[in-house]
Each structure stands twice: as C-alpha cells, then as structure tokens.
Symmetry: C2
Amino acid sequence: LTGPRAKRRHVRSLTGDFPEVDEKGQEKWPKGDEKSWKAAMRDLHTDLPEVTRSIVNHVQTSLARAPYNIDDFGAYQAAALSVRDNLIVNWNATQLEYSRKSPKRAYYLSLEFLMGRTLSNALLNLGLLDNYSSSLSSLGFSLEDVLVQERDAALGNGGLGRLAACYLDSSATQELPYGIFQQLIKADDGSQLEAPDPWLDHQNPWELPRLDITYEVRFYGNAQRWSEGTGRATWSGGQEVLAVAYDVMIPGYGTKCTNNLRLWESKPKRGFDLQSFNAGNYERAVESSNSAAAITSVLYPNDHTSFGKELRLKQQYFWTAASLADIMRRFKHLEKPISEFADYNAIQLNDTHPTLSIVELMRILLDEEELTWDNAWTIVTNTFFFTNHTVLPEALEKWPVPLMEHLLPRHMQIIFDIKKFPGDREKFSRLSLIEEGFPKQVRMANLAVVGSKKVNGVAELHSDLVKKNLLPDFVDFYGKSKFGNVTNGITPRRWLDQCNPSLSALITDTLKLDRNVWLKDLYKLEGLVAHLDDPQFQARWAAVKHQNKERLALFVERQLGLKVNADAMFDVQIKRLHEYKRQTLNILGVIHRYLLIKNKTPEERKKIVKKVVFFAGKAAPGYYIAKLTIRLIVNVARVINADPDTSQYLSLFFLPDYSVSLAEILIPASDISQHISTAGTEASGTSNMKFCLNGGLLVGTVDGANIEIAEEVGEDNVFFFGHLTPDVEDLRYQHTYHPVPVEQKSPALAHVLNAVSSGIFGGDGVYEPLLNTIRQGDFYILTEDFDSYIRALEMVDEAYADRTEWTKKSIRTTAKMGKFSSDRAIQDYAQEYWNVESIKL
Amino acid sequence: LTGPRAKRRHVRSLTGDFPEVDEKGQEKWPKGDEKSWKAAMRDLHTDLPEVTRSIVNHVQTSLARAPYNIDDFGAYQAAALSVRDNLIVNWNATQLEYSRKSPKRAYYLSLEFLMGRTLSNALLNLGLLDNYSSSLSSLGFSLEDVLVQERDAALGNGGLGRLAACYLDSSATQELPYGIFQQLIKADDGSQLEAPDPWLDHQNPWELPRLDITYEVRFYGNAQRWSEGTGRATWSGGQEVLAVAYDVMIPGYGTKCTNNLRLWESKPKRGFDLQSFNAGNYERAVESSNSAAAITSVLYPNDHTSFGKELRLKQQYFWTAASLADIMRRFKHLEKPISEFADYNAIQLNDTHPTLSIVELMRILLDEEELTWDNAWTIVTNTFFFTNHTVLPEALEKWPVPLMEHLLPRHMQIIFDIKKFPGDREKFSRLSLIEEGFPKQVRMANLAVVGSKKVNGVAELHSDLVKKNLLPDFVDFYGKSKFGNVTNGITPRRWLDQCNPSLSALITDTLKLDRNVWLKDLYKLEGLVAHLDDPQFQARWAAVKHQNKERLALFVERQLGLKVNADAMFDVQIKRLHEYKRQTLNILGVIHRYLLIKNKTPEERKKIVKKVVFFAGKAAPGYYIAKLTIRLIVNVARVINADPDTSQYLSLFFLPDYSVSLAEILIPASDISQHISTAGTEASGTSNMKFCLNGGLLVGTVDGANIEIAEEVGEDNVFFFGHLTPDVEDLRYQHTYHPVPVEQKSPALAHVLNAVSSGIFGGDGVYEPLLNTIRQGDFYILTEDFDSYIRALEMVDEAYADRTEWTKKSIRTTAKMGKFSSDRAIQDYAQEYWNVESIKL
Ligand SMILES: Cc1ncc(COP(=O)(O)O)c(C=O)c1O
Ligand SMILES: Cc1ncc(COP(=O)(O)O)c(C=O)c1O
C-alpha cells in the first residue's frame, strides 16, 4: 500500500499577508484607493480628548449604553476596549514587520498561561496611565475602581503558568523573539476553575477572535501504513474537530513591539452530527456537537500531578495539533524548502504537556510532506527545545499505550518507530520511551528529551538533579552539552513597578535613572547598594513597606471584615497547596508559636515580636490532604485570632481565592516570606524572587532558586534551614526501615501534633490523616526539619528587632535581584537555545 | 404549610435606566462632567469621509487587520460594524425615550424569527445606501459583492417566522408599539438547521450581548403547595439554568425609531457542576454544563408538526420564562401597583409555542407577588393575546401530562387549577385543557385561548374555521367578540423596495410621490391604476419584470451552471415542502405538460407557451414523503431538461437551500406563482402577497389569503381552481367509505402516475409511497383537484399569449396590494388588540 496522499487543506487565512513590491522594490497598495484608505486610517489615540472620545464612543456603540446606564464595570469595559484599539494598532504594525522580514520565530508552547489582569499592565506598557486616569475622572470614575473590575485571566495552576506570562512580557519588551507565542488554553472557560460566572468572560476585550483561522484536528480513526520502509501512513476516519484561533495582544514595555498569544477553542466541525439530525434525532445531534466543544471547556486544576484521563490527552493533542498546523501554514507562506524548517522555527515546550507536538510534526513531515524518516527526524530534533519543570515522580506524565492507540493511532505508530529508528539502536533502546507494566505507558518526558535539540531545568540545583537523577541514561547517550539550565525569571514591570508603585518611584528617584532604563536592565538595581547607609533613604524604604502593609491590612478588612495590625511583622506563604511545599510545616510552626505565647506571663509576652501570618493558595479539588491543610489553617486562625491572651502578638489569615491580583497585594507587603519545600522538590519557585524583589526577606530551604537568590543577596540576608538534598533520600530510607517516633526526633513537634489531636482546633479527629502523614512515613521529612525551622524563625525575630539592620537587609535584597528578571531568562533562551534575534520596529 | 416566600432576585440591569430630574424638572446628568461626556459623544456617521473612516477603523481595530488582509467578507464585517454603530445611536435614543415616557408596551413572543439578511435592510432604513456604496468603492469593494457575504439569519421554519420579521419592521416604522420584541431563539445556533458553519455566526455584528441581563430558569424539582385555598406553592430544587440576553436592533424605515428584538441564550448557572468538579470528576462536570447550553443550541426544523420531545418543551419554557422575567423586571422599574400590569403590557403569542408564558405569569403573580387567584387571573387574561396559525390537527401542540409534571411540576399544578377555578365551572369544564388518553395530554391551543383576552386567525377564511371547526365550544362560552381576524401582512420595504429596486423606482416615478410616502402608506399603490393603459408605462413595467427574470437566470447559471431562458414564462412555487401545500400537484402537473409536449409534432410545439418552472423549499429532516417529493422534482428536472424534444418549451429547476435571500431573487422574477394548498389548510400564506406585490399573478386554490387577494385585485386577475373548503370533509369521507379509482376520477392524473411508476424518472419504484398517498386515501384531494388545476394552467397560457393584457393584470395586481402591508396588520393589532399608541421621536 502506498496510499493516497493526505493533503492538508491549507485554509486561507487573513493574517500574515504582507505588501507585494513592484519592479522598483516599492510596496504596492493592495486594494482600492490608497489615499482614501490612508486618510481614514487611525493611529494610537493618546491625547486626552482622543482618549475620552474613544472611551465614550465605546460606551455608546460597543456597549450600546447611554451614560445613564454605566457603572464601574461598564467603564472598565469601555476603557479596556479603547486600550485594546491602541494595542491593535501596534500589534498590526509588529505583525506586519515580522511578515516583511520573515525572521526566525520562537514559539512557546504551553498548556497554561497565568496572565492576571491586563488593563493596568497594558496602560503601563503603552505609557498611557496618566491620560486614562484623567479621562476617566472627567467621566466620573476613578482609575483604581475601574481597574479592579477586571477578572484575572487565570489560565494556569501556578508557577509554570505564571512563568509563561512573565516570559511573554519579556519577549515583547526585548522586541524578541519576534514570535507568535502559542497558548493552548481557551481563556473563556479556563477560569471556570474557580469562577461561578463563566459567561462574563465571553466579552473578554483582550481576546480577538480569528474565526477565519481554523484547523481540523482528528481523533480516533485508523492509521494505515504505506508500503514497508517508508515510515509513512494514512490516518483517516474517527472524529474531526475544528480549532478556532483567538489572539491576545502582548505589548512590550516602552516599545511598539506587541507580540501575539494565540489561543485555540474547539468547535464541532459541522454544526451537528448531520446524520442524527437528518434522521430527526435532534437531541442526539446536539449532544455530539457538545462533545467537540467540551475539549477546551475545562482547565484541569491539578498541579504537579499527572491525570491519565482521555479528555486531558485530547486537550493536549488538540492544542498542539492546532499550533503545529498554524506554524506550518506560516512557514509555507515563506515559500522556503521544507528542509529549512528549523532555520525559521524554534519551538519551546513548557514541560511535557505539549510533547505530542514532536510526534505531530513527524506525522506532518512524513505523511503530508512525504519526507524520509531521517530527514524528518533531523528537522524535528533541530526545532524543539524542552524545559523540564519537576523531578517529582507523581508529576511525570505517562499515557497508557492502549489509550494512545485508540485516540491517536498514528501517533502511537510513530512513537514505536522512534523507539526503533535512530542510529545507535543498541544504546538507544535503553532510553526507554515505553514503561513496561499493565498497561504499558508512554513516558512523555523521555519522548520530549529524545525529540528535542536541548533540554533545560529551571534553576541550577534542579538542572543538576535532572541530569543526575532523572535522566542519567540520556546524558550518557547524548552527552552533557544537550542539557543546560535557564534559571526562571519574573517580569519587573508587573512584579515591581505595577504592584509596588511607591517602591518603583523611590528606586527611580534614588538611582536617578528613568524607570524605563532600570526596568529594562534590572542589574541597575545594584546602584541601590551605594545608598544602603543613607538614613533618609532607609526611612523612605521602610515607609514604603509600611504603606504596602497598610494597603494589605485595608484589603483584608474589606474582604474579611477583620482588623490587621500593620505594625506587626508580616510573614507570608502563598502558593499552591501541596505536601512538598510544606504549608503543613508552616502551620505547625504557627501553632508552636501560639502555644509558647499562651504559656508566657503577660509580662514575658511584652518582649515578643508581634507577627501576622498570611496564607493563600488553592488545592486541587481532588487533593484530600491539601484540602485538610487548608481546613487546619482556617480553624487555627479562628481559635488564635479569638484568643485575647495572644491575639495581639500572633494572628493568622487564610486569604481565599489566590490569584495573580492577590499576589500583587500580598508580595509588596511582606517582611518575610516562606519557601520551605523539602530540599530537592521545588524546581525553582518564582514567587521567592517576587518577594525578594520587593524587599521581603526569604525564609527557606536550600532548594530551587532559593539557592541562587542566596548567592546573589548573600547568605546572611536569607534565613536558611533544614536538611540538604543529598540527605533526603537517606532520611526517607530510615523512615521506612528504621522508624523513630516523633517524640524522640522532635519533642517540640510531637507536642504540637498532640495539641492538634487533642482537639483544641476542633475537628473531632478530622486532622488525623494529615497528622499521620508526618507520624508515619513522613515523606517530606517534617520531623527532621521542624526544629531547625523553628530556630530559623527565632533568628528572624532577633534580626527584626534591629529595624535599621533589617531595612538594610531588605534594600540589599532588592538591589541584588537583577539576575532574576525574566528579560535575562528570555535572553538566555534566545541566544543559547532558539538562536533568534530581536527586531527593531 | 404557608411556605417561605420565593423571592425573585431582581438582577441589576444596565439598560432601561433613565435620567433623574431635579426639583425644577430638569434632567440631571448622571455621572461625571456633563461637558466632557457631551463633547465626546458621537452621533450618526453619515457623510462620506465619516463613513469611510468608520469602516477603515473597524478594519483596523475590531477586525485587527491590515488593509493587506481584507477581502469581501472582511469588508462586509467592517461595513456591518460601522452600520451597527449608527443603528445603536438611534436605538439608544429610542429606548431612552421609551423609558422616559413609560408607555404601554407590546411584546411579541415568538419561537421563530426568519430575518434574512440585515445589512442592506439597515442601510435602506437609515437612508445610507448611497454613501456606503461610494465609500466601499473608494476602498476597492463593490456594495453588491459585500452584501451577499452576509449569511441569512434563518431562525425560523417558514411563514410564521417570516411574519414575525415583517411585523418587527412595521412596528418600528410606525414608531409603534414602542416595544421591545422578545424573540425566543438564539441566533447563533438556529442557523445550524442547515449550515455546516455555525462558528461563523459567533461574530454576528447584529447581536448585542447583554451579559448583565440574566435570569435563572428552573426545571424539574418539587412544587409544594401552601395552605389549602391560596392556590400558591413553592417550587424548588431541580436544575437551574441561566438565560442571557442578546439584543438585535430593528430600525424603522425613515424614522429614528429603532426597536429591540431580544434573544435568549442558555448557559450553565455555574460554570460547572461544582460537586463533580470538587470530587475531581472534571469530565462529568463538563457534561453537565453542556446540558444547560444545549437548551438553545438547536431550532427544531419541523413546520406544522408537533414534536413531543422534552428538549423542545424545555426550550419553550426557557424562552418564555426568561421573557416574562424580563417583562416583569421592566414593569417593576415603573413602580406601579401590580394590579396595573395589564395597563402597561400587552403580550402577543405567535402560535401556541410560547403558551407556557400564561402559566408562568400566573406562577409569578401567585407565588412571588402573592396575589389571590382571581386577581392574578384577571391580570393574565387582560395581558395575553393569542394568534392561531393553523387548523391542521397534526400541528396542534399537545404535551403529555407526565412529562409536564416531571419537567414543570408547578406549572402542571396551575394548569389543573385553571381547569377548576373560573366562575362558571359547569360550562367551563367543557373547554377541555386536558385530552383524555394514555398518557393524558395538555392541549396548548385551548390553554392559550382560555388565558388570552382575544384570539385571532390570520386570514378571513382561517379565522372563520378557527371559530366554527376548531373552537366552537369556546366561542359558545366566551361569545364571538373574543375571536377576531387579523389578515397577515408583509413589509413593502424588504419585499418590494429592497428586493425589486427597479420596480420601486418605476412606481416612485409613476406615482410622483417620494418612495418614503408610498412605502409607508401602501394603499397609495392604487394610483398606478390611472396609468394602466399608458403603453409607455406598460412597456417599462414589462421591462422591469424581464430584467428581474434575467437576474434570476444569471443567478441560476452561477449557482447550478444551467442556462435559463428568460423569455419564457416563469412559474414559481417556493415554500416549505408539505403534503398540504401540494408541491406534488405541481410536479405532477409539470409531468402532464411534459408528456403532452412530448406527444406533439415539432410543428404543433411551436404554438406552445414556453415555460420555466421553479421550485424551492426545505423538508423537515424526518419528513419522508416531503423528501421523496423533492427527489421526484429533482429527477423529473434531470430528465426533461435533457430532453431535446421538449427542453426549449419546458424546463424545471429545484433551487437548493431556500431562504429569505433566495426568495428575494425569485419573487420579483415570477410571472405566476402557485399557492395551491388543499382548501381550508393554508391559514393565510404570505408569499402569495409578496409575489402579487411584485406583479406576479397568482395560481391558487380558494384558501387562506388567496381569497382576500382575489377580493382586492379582482377574480379575473387570479387563476383559481379546485374544490372549496366545505367540500373537503365530504370528499375525504368518500375516499374512505366509497373509494373510486384514480383512473375514473381523473384519467389524466392516472396517466401521469403511471408514467412515474413506469420508471421514466428513474427510481426503481422508489416513488410508490408518494404515489400511494394519492391512490389510497388521498387526504389532500389531488384526484379531485387535478383536472381543474390543469385547466387553470391552460387559462394561464391563454392569458399570457396576450402580453399587453397580461401586463395590465400584473400592474393591477400590484396596485391593489395596499391592504397587505404589515403596517396595516400591526395597526390592527395595536388598536384592536393591544391598545398601544405610537411615540414620536
Ligand atoms: C497566582 C500564582 N500562583 C502561583 C505562583 C507561583 O508561586 P511559587 O513560585 O511560590 O510556587 C505565583 C507567583 O507569583 C502566582 O502569582
Ligand atoms: C424563507 C421563507 N420561508 C417561508 C416563507 C412563507 O412562504 P408561504 O407563505 O408560501 O408559506 C417565506 C415568505 O417569503 C420565506 O421567505
């Protein structure tokens, strides 16, 4: 069988066309009368009357409202639409320039993008904050009230998703990597994760529907191999679903450059199952059309766990197939030989979620482009780059072979062929893509490594662990140079200037640099060190921190109706609830502190450092232990906040519904923050960088990016504790084979556990399963780390007593955070991985 | 049990607010600085540069495209958005004025609205056709090419749905009935009925999402009665679904008045079934959210048949409940006592589909407003008006009591109570709302009659049949004055000026009246009679007809690749395929003619009137006999168009995908059109009026509005045939009890049937089931009507031979169509039913 060629119908698309040139090299005007067009075209609307007119016209037309019927939310919508119009002008110019120049493009494939709010960020990046503020005020609204109307775009679970968002900002700011970023979750419904109001999102002003850009994506069906040896096959039948593109504009800071984030939504290919419809079975026809739409209707809320569900695999393939088709269409437009594909495209995989794109590109090159296996494989392995985000075994994705064979028969064939084909078969066979067992499973990380040009971890320690523990056979086979490190970064635009405008102003004032300069070259912060001993500067620095604490206090009072003492030390731990992140250690530490205070005389208590502890973070809906931890925190808070003996010295808040917007309030207000994962488990962390950038000191384990932060700011400015990574394995071994009771290892911890068991925080034994994870097994070595954790917190108290020294620590911390700008990270990728350059507009 | 009050959460809505006044009676500016607002507000954009700027800006921003990436469809979108902005300005002004004046409003509740295309109609009504045409041409596009890019909004099955659309146009044109029309099908998916591309509709520029206007709609659950005698109950539990409003602007012709058509879309109340979601069962959570969305995802494609499916009942309740909640909210806003409800609201039911609104209003008044039964019933029966559209037994809606009890337990209670409560119980019990049987069924027409103030049919004959045959007991009980007639009407804007611009221009020229005048007072057409004998006028009239025939010929050639002789007589039958409409009679007549011609010598044939027959129309997907009729037509066409002996004398076309837009091309091109339903079955028909308005002569039975058309234009200008209504019952009785073979009743027909059976049109016996409906039973009395039908067509041929006489008939027909303007019909309703008056803007 040589089989008919499976031609891809290259759908006409209405973006990406660019001017033709005449014989003199002049660009030709495409259609109609050039003068009429040009006279009618608009540029940015930036001056005050223009801005006001644009907002008011959107009230009248886009919202179809009279001024009588407009509230803060309406004002937000109108302002957002008006800003969107401005973004589009830059976006059009950027995309046109990319089309003109046809440079190599980098594509960042990610299943998650945790964007947060857009309006304030867009105004900042466009430099239009002031004019919109004045304009709105003349119309009767305050910018602050309008900004908070926006719902966070929460298309992600945590660090991995937020990292992608920071990288978007940096790439546009650096006019680099020219690229169209491809995001793989439909904004609409991702937020359903927590929101009871999905319909609101339907008029998301930041999403441009691209209804003319659609691709067909196939599931199930049959893969029929062609004649032996070609490696080709024809895949047909099954279900065909349509992917429709939505674009989100990503403006760079202080540049016209506005990049693209492309989302995909699933739609039925035909409105209906026409067969059922024609047979008069309308109910059934409706059902089947819904099954297509369901593909993009939920973002799995799990973080650091693999899922194993067919719908999730469908999502992964749907999004990668649409993205690959789109990349291929854009490349075809250049009319270059297919062999040059990797010279024009670099595709970065954000963890294993989009790994199927490797197999999908093979499928396209083999079955549609009819390349030989070796040529196809050369292209693929020069195109992809893979970032690993975790070494936790439960987070390593695996897909059962029978499920893959059923849903993606052609891809399963190719994976089996990858196992067989490459050069040194003997050695290669050790790099097992398939895990034995019942059922057999495809190891996605291994597949990603094999199909990529380079692989990286996200912090020094983590990249080492990837090489030594996770993939030693691969390092052996490919050599070390394939494996690198790019330490994560964060965008200082959102995580300093936007969330902490007072600190940004103080820095600008102190450095005597335009903020445009240091926000784009964060190493400039080092200039603050020269002012470390200036008492006036110290006072202003402390005042900013205090002001941010008061802002947080006000927020808590409004949200929860509870008073917060802004003069106390603020201690913050905010991140996904997960056993490895050890929120449990923190809450047990809080109880320990509470019991200590409770036992003191009123006289003794006066010497205590007053402290307010904040938690925030979501648990995956099905994660029982994580939910129990939240319950414990909330109930401990209930008890200790109501205890008149202690409440002025120690109080505790769990802020619900953690989000980027909440992080923007909490981070600038922290005196210390906790990043206390069991050593070797947190790949990098990024919120640690955010706190430190805002002058909050770090309490943490020797893990992830904590280590590099300490290297930068100096070990005496962080509070480290706990066992190191190499010890952990051994301790766990001991737990299993030579268990020692908690009472013996840490009497203090045992005391705390018993207090919880005794029911003083209520619960009738409800917390026992949580406590037993510590008493038995203790996989995350809380028993070994508890005492040194308590000691670290005591050192924090001591240090905090000397406020001047503390402020200097805080200043130094901020000053040394230059390395952690996502601009640096993106530059690392661009130069050392993707080989793309920036384009000046 | 007196039960807790089921309070409706009156959702804040952002439309319908109006200015407060200060103590001097001056309107207060609501928010911000009045000057800033007013300086920034826009009015209509009507002059050429404004129009061009508006189109180009929409290209740049709303479409986010460069001029390099714009095609006809893009130009359509940009032009549509620009026109929409203009409409919105008028719409805002209209709605604000309604809110200011708070007049009585009429609501037209309909499950169907067959709107057709909007752009050209909006341009016509706004008077902006010329400027948009020039503007587009300067940008490199032709208006004609742009207009045809629009997909018909086909939210209806046929006459009933198109009638609603004509009434919308007329009510806005007459600045009447101030109203917000409530439409009950979501535009998005209704068109899936035939379209394989539902996603295109997502960016329908004519729909304004009103995401802040939502109501909760309940299904299933329990209805718990309060203490005996109150008639009240609490309905709780079950499934709650959200209705979200979408508005479509309906501009009047030659007025600022722009009314509203409100659509409803179903959405899950929460993004998800949170319980499944929290238990980690995301797949299930997605499913359940889809089940809510499914409610509005399909328009049942059946016409004149009842459905009996739970999903359809869900739709009916969903749409009526959302509409009633909306009407109630608007009324509450006026702060009038509830007892005055009927003074401010008239609700017209377009057939029985929205009948549940009667029960829903009872439920609201009893359970939420806590009125007594009698007070509630008085309000209800002064609020509703019911239009019956059919006396066909199979089209009369019935719902099984067990289904109603399950889906709408509270409504079923109320229906049982209606049966019991009213004054004269003895007599009333005869007016059976419930049909006995297994299962028992609720008769919706009877319920609609009982709950309405007045009832009407849609043509004189039909209204008589409603009284005498369908509802004699009710006439007996309520007296005759409750039952009236409003003959249907059509809007001359779309059905003459827009679809036949040359004829419109000729009329304007001849009447020496601004077209604004006669299009708003269609009786002015009578002025044409004075010119009947003017040969020059006759010649121009005939030339227009010829030109329209050539336009149709060109269209057929482009669509089907077939040549059409525009010099032949054009004979058109276009409407839903249904046995009662007797397309079968027509095709059998065509075959008869074919066989006759085939039998003639070439010499004889020269005397024949050349004729082209057109069919168009959809069959419900499950309607076997109707589909078989289409198949027969298509195959007869294949044979006779290919027969060199006959094809120049007779050809036949079935145009696929009948729609409003297709009707707009066919109707102006007809010499004759066929409206040949079995007497007593077609309630009115409206396409008959459209053909006659365009000077096409009518071949028809003495049925529906044909009768009144003949009264107006004179019997000698129509070609009537067939048995009259009173005979039909008797003939059917004969068919059953004294059957006579076809051969005896009509040898000509028998010959034709045998020809079909013999296989000359192929099919291997496939048509036998269709032919047997005639040979056996013959419910629609084709055997009795065939010979007189053929005779009528012969008379058509004779009359057509004298072209001058024919043209005069054509002119007279158009001239006498004044009565059939939907403006007249709407005025009838406004004055004699709703008691609402127009408001000058
Ligand atoms: C909403 C949200 N979730 C998760 C993270 C990642 O936090 P961490 O690095 O502590 O895991 C961040 C970082 O700021 C965030 O804003
Ligand atoms: C698309 C469509 N369907 C149905 C009808 C109603 O046709 P009739 O009155 O012949 O049933 C019309 C009237 O023009 C129409 O345009």
